[in-house]
Symmetry: C2
C-alpha cells in the first residue's frame, strides 16, 4: 500500500490560542502525555490526537470550539474514556476536548427531583449525592464508578436497571450544549413538558456529532421501599430464557433481570469468589424486584414459582443490602473476570427480541465453534440486550480480524431476528459499517440531514456513527480502511 | 386596513393530478364541503383550505406530497381535527391531507407488545383491539374516543394516565413517514434500542412540520392486575395541592391524579350527574392506583392517610370497573360540561412545578377577577399540567380578544414559576407567540435548523410552532396579525 507523507498541522499558533483560554495547564501537547488519550474503552483502535484541552466551564468549551471552527480543526469530546464503541477515538491532527475537569454538581433540587451536573461528573456520584435523602439516579452502566455523565449522554448508556427505568435518554430533562460553531444553546429544560422539537432526545445518543453537552439536567428517582434479589440456577439455557419470557408475560417488570452462562459463572467465581454462583449451572438468572414491601414479597413469590416451573434447581434470595451486593458482585465483575480467562476479550453489544433468546444463544454457540473462539455470555436478559464476550489472544497474528468478523456475524444475527446492532454502547467508530444492515440508504441520509445542519463543517467527531463510503464492505476488515490515519493494534 | 385582491391559485390542473392518484372520490373541492375542514378543535381561528385530499396508503400520501412539492403548494395534515392549538389549521390556498380513510390496524404482535397502525386509527381502538388479551395503550387524551393516533403523534398528546406512563413519545417505537419532498422514510423501528439519531423522538410532537406519519408502531402495556380509584374532597385548594405533593414525595406514582375545582364539580354534576362529586367541596382529587392487588391495597391506604392528614373531609374508593368508570365520568366530561356553563369556553394548557400549585391557583383566581371572566380549573395535578377553562360569550364584541389575553397571562405565569406554555396540546397556531417567553432566540433558531433541513421549501404546515416575525408582540392580539389570510371568528 502506498502511503503519502502528509503535511502535519502547525499547532503552535493554535496552542497559543488554547492557552489564552485555559492557561498553560489546560493544554496537553507533549507526545508522551498524549498517549493516554489515543483510545477509549475500545482499545483495538488507536490514534493520537494533535492536542488535548481541559476546559472547566461552558464558556471555555465555547471558546475552544470557536477556535477549532475558525481553523477548520476536527474536535472530539471525551469524558472518562470508558466507551466501548470508539466514540471518543481521536482522528489524526484533531483536538480532544476532555471534560475531566468539569466535575461540579451545579444544583440539587430534591423537591422537583432534578440535579444539574457538569459533563465530567462520574455516574455514581449523582446517586451518592442524593441517596441520603432517599433518591437515586437510575441508569447504571457496569462502568458507573468511573464513567462520566457526559459520556453517558453521548452514548445513551444503559445498565442493569434500564429494563424497568429506561436508558439515559429517559432521565435527561435538558442540556446546555455548545454547538459545532461554538454557540451556547439550551435545549429541553427543567421539566419534562417542553414545547417545540425534542432536541434533547436527538442530542442524547448522538455521540458528540452534534456538539458538546456542558450542563446536564438529570431526573432523579425516589429509592424503592424494598428491594429483593433472586438468583435462580438452571441446567439448560432454554429453561432460563423461558423463565425470562414468562416473568415479563406475567406483567412483572423487574428492576433488573440478568443472565450469565457457565463460562461467565466460573470466570467470576475464579476471580471474585462470591461463593453464590453454582459452578455447575448452565445458566443463572439474577432478578431484582423493587417496590413496596408487600409488592416485592408478592412478586418474589411469583418469580420463584415461574423459575421453578421452568426447571430451576435452586433459588436463593436476599433482601438485605450486604447479601444483595454479594449476589450482584459477580455480575458486575463479569467483564473484568473475562480478562482472566484469556489475554484479551472483545465485548459485543446487540439486541434481540426476548422471545428469540434460546435460538440466538444456540447460533452464537455454533459461531463460537466455527470460528474457534470461546464466547462467554453475560447479558441484560429482560430487554434482550446481549453482551457476548469473545475470548482471544491479540498477540496471535490475525486473531483480532477473525474476532471482529465473528462479532460482526453476531450483530448480523441480531438484525436478522428483528433486533439491533447496539443496545447501550453506541455505534462510534466500531459499528458504523453495520448501520446499512439496519437502515436503508434513505433512512441513513435522513439522519444525516440533522448532522449536516448542526455540524456543517463536519468538525464535531468526524467518522463516527455513519458509514463512509456508504458501500463499505461486508467484512469487518473493510471497515478499517475508513479510518484514515488510524492504526489498528 | 388595506386589503389587496390576491390572485387565487388555479386549482384545476392540480386537482386533476390529485384525482389521478386518488380517484374523484378522494378529492374534496366544493366550497360547502370544505367548510368542515376550516378549523380543528381551536374554533376561534378559521381558514378554508383550497382543496382536501383523502389518501388511503403511504404511497398515495407520498404522491400527493410530491405534487405539492413540485407546485410549491403548502400542505397540512389533519387527523380527526380535535387538536386544541390549531395545529391542523389550514392556510389560504393550501392542501389539507386528511387521514380519516387511513384507519387500518396493520399488525398486532402481542408477544413483543407492539401494534402497527395507520394514522387515522382512533386512539381507543388500539386498546379495544388488545384488551381481550390483557393489554392496553397508555396515552389517553380526553378526546380518545374520537382523536386519531396520527394527531396524537403530531401533538405528542398526553392524558390522565401519563403521570405514571408518559406521553405519546414514550409509546411510539417507530414511524414510516413521508418527508416534505415526498420521500418515504422509516425512522425508529420495532424495538426501543435503535442506533443512530432518535428521529422518532424529534418527529413526535413536531405538529406536521417535518412530514406526515403514515404507519405508526406503538408500544402496548400489560393491563394491571388491580386498579382502584379514590375520590377525596377538600374544603381548600391548598389542602388538595398539599396532598398531591405529599403523595409524590412518599414515592407513590399513581396511574393518574386529577384535581377539579368547585366550578367544575358543579358543572359536571349539572350535566352528567355522577352523584359522586360533593357540590360543596372546594376541590376534589381523583387518584387512580394500579398494580398488584397487594400493592394497590397498600398504596390505597397510604394515599387515604395522606389526604386525611391534609384535611380531606371524605374519601370514597372503588375497585370494581363500574364504580371506577362512574368516578371518572365527571372528569372525562369536564370540558363538555363547561360548555353548559357559558356559551363559549377557552381551554388553556400550561405546566407548573407541582410545588407551586397553591400559589398559581391563587394567581389564576386573581386574574379571573381582574379580567372579569370565570375560570373553571380541571387538571392533571400529579404532573402540574393545568387546564384552566375560561368561560365567556363569543357573541360579545371583543370578548375573545380579552379571553386570549387572559389565557396569555396564565401562560406567562406558568413560565415565570419555572413551567411550560404547553403540557399536551401542542403549540400549533395558537401559542407560537409565547415561544420566546420560554426560549432564547438562539434556542429557537437551533430548533428551526431541523425544520429547515426537513422542510426547506417550508410547505409542510407553515406558520405553526415558531413565531414569525420573531418580535411578535406581547399581547395575544398581535399574534393574529401573523396569520395571513386567517379570519378571526
Amino acid at each position: 500500500m502506498l502511503t503519502q507523507e502528509k503535511q502535519q498541522r502547525n499547532w503552535k499558533p493554535i496552542i497559543k490560542e488554547f492557552e489564552a483560554v485555559l492557561g498553560k495547564n489546560g493544554v496537553v501537547q507533549r507526545r508522551e502525555e498524549l498517549i493516554t488519550y489515543e483510545c477509549d474503552g475500545l482499545t483495538s483502535y488507536r490514534q493520537r490526537p494533535g492536542v488535548v484541552v481541559l476546559p472547566r466551564t461552558t464558556e471555555q468549551v465555547a471558546q475552544l470550539v470557536k477556535i477549532c471552527d475558525r481553523n477548520s480543526i476536527p474536535f472530539i469530546a471525551r469524558g472518562s474514556g470508558t466507551g466501548l464503541s470508539g466514540g471518543a477515538l481521536p482522528i489524526e491532527d484533531s483536538v480532544l476536548i476532555v471534560t475531566s475537569l468539569m466535575r461540579q454538581i451545579l444544583s440539587v433540587d430534591l423537591e422537583n427531583q432534578r440535579v444539574i451536573v457538569q459533563p465530567g461528573v462520574i455516574n455514581n456520584w449523582v446517586t451518592q449525592t442524593v441517596s441520603g435523602a432517599g433518591f437515586y439516579y437510575a441508569p447504571d452502566p457496569s462502568s458507573q464508578i468511573i464513567c462520566s455523565i457526559g459520556g453517558n449522554v453521548a452514548e445513551n448508556s444503559g445498565g442493569v436497571h434500564c429494563l424497568k427505568y429506561g436508558v439515559t435518554t429517559n432521565h435527561v430533562l435538558g442540556l446546555k450544549i455548545v454547538t459545532p460553531d461554538g454557540s451556547i444553546v439550551d435545549i429541553g429544560g427543567q421539566i419534562p413538558e417542553m414545547p417545540g422539537y425534542d432536541l434533547t432526545g436527538i442530542f442524547v445518543g448522538s455521540e458528540g456529532t452534534l456538539g458538546i453537552a456542558t450542563e446536564i439536567t438529570l431526573r432523579i428517582l425516589k429509592s424503592a421501599e424494598s428491594i429483593c434479589v433472586l438468583l435462580a440456577d438452571f441446567t439448560t439455557v432454554e429453561a432460563a430464557a423461558e423463565s425470562v419470557s414468562d416473568i415479563i408475560s406475567a406483567g412483572i417488570i423487574p428492576g433488573g433481570m440478568e443472565m450469565m452462562d457457565n463460562i461467565s459463572i466460573n470466570a467470576v467465581e475464579d476471580v471474585v469468589a462470591t461463593n453464590c454462583y453454582p459452578r455447575d449451572a448452565t445458566a443463572i438468572l439474577l432478578v431484582e424486584i423493587d417496590g413496596l414491601e408487600v409488592e416485592v414479597a408478592a412478586n418474589k413469590q411469583r418469580v420463584a414459582e415461574i423459575c421453578l416451573k421452568n426447571g430451576a434447581r435452586n433459588i436463593t434470595s436476599a433482601s438485605d443490602l450486604e447479601t444483595r451486593l454479594k449476589l450482584w458482585k459477580g455480575r458486575k465483575a463479569a467483564f473484568a473476570a473475562a480478562g482472566h480467562l484469556s489475554p484479551d476479550y472483545y465485548v459485543q453489544d446487540g439486541v434481540i427480541p426476548r422471545t428469540q433468546l434460546p435460538e440466538v444463544l444456540q447460533e452464537i454457540e455454533r459461531l463460537s465453534q466455527k470460528f474457534g473462539y470461546q464466547i462467554a455470555n453475560v447479558f441484560h436478559a429482560g430487554d434482550g440486550n446481549l453482551h457476548p464476550l469473545i475470548l482471544f489472544d491479540n498477540s496471535v497474528e490475525g486473531a483480532l480480524e477473525k474476532v471482529e468478523e465473528l462479532g460482526g456475524e453476531i450483530l448480523k444475527l441480531c438484525v436478522k431476528v428483528g433486533g439491533s446492532i447496539s443496545g447501550e454502547h453506541g455505534i462510534g467508530a466500531d459499528k458504523k459499517c453495520y448501520m446499512p444492515d439496519m437502515f436503508s440508504e434513505i433512512d441513513l441520509e435522513t439522519m444525516q440531514w440533522v448532522r449536516q445542519v448542526f455540524n456543517p463543517q463536519g468538525l464535531a467527531n468526524p467518522g463516527k456513527i455513519f458509514p463512509t463510503p456508504r458501500t463499505c464492505g461486508e467484512a469487518a476488515s473493510a471497515s478499517k480502511q475508513q479510518f484514515e490515519g488510524v492504526e489498528l493494534f
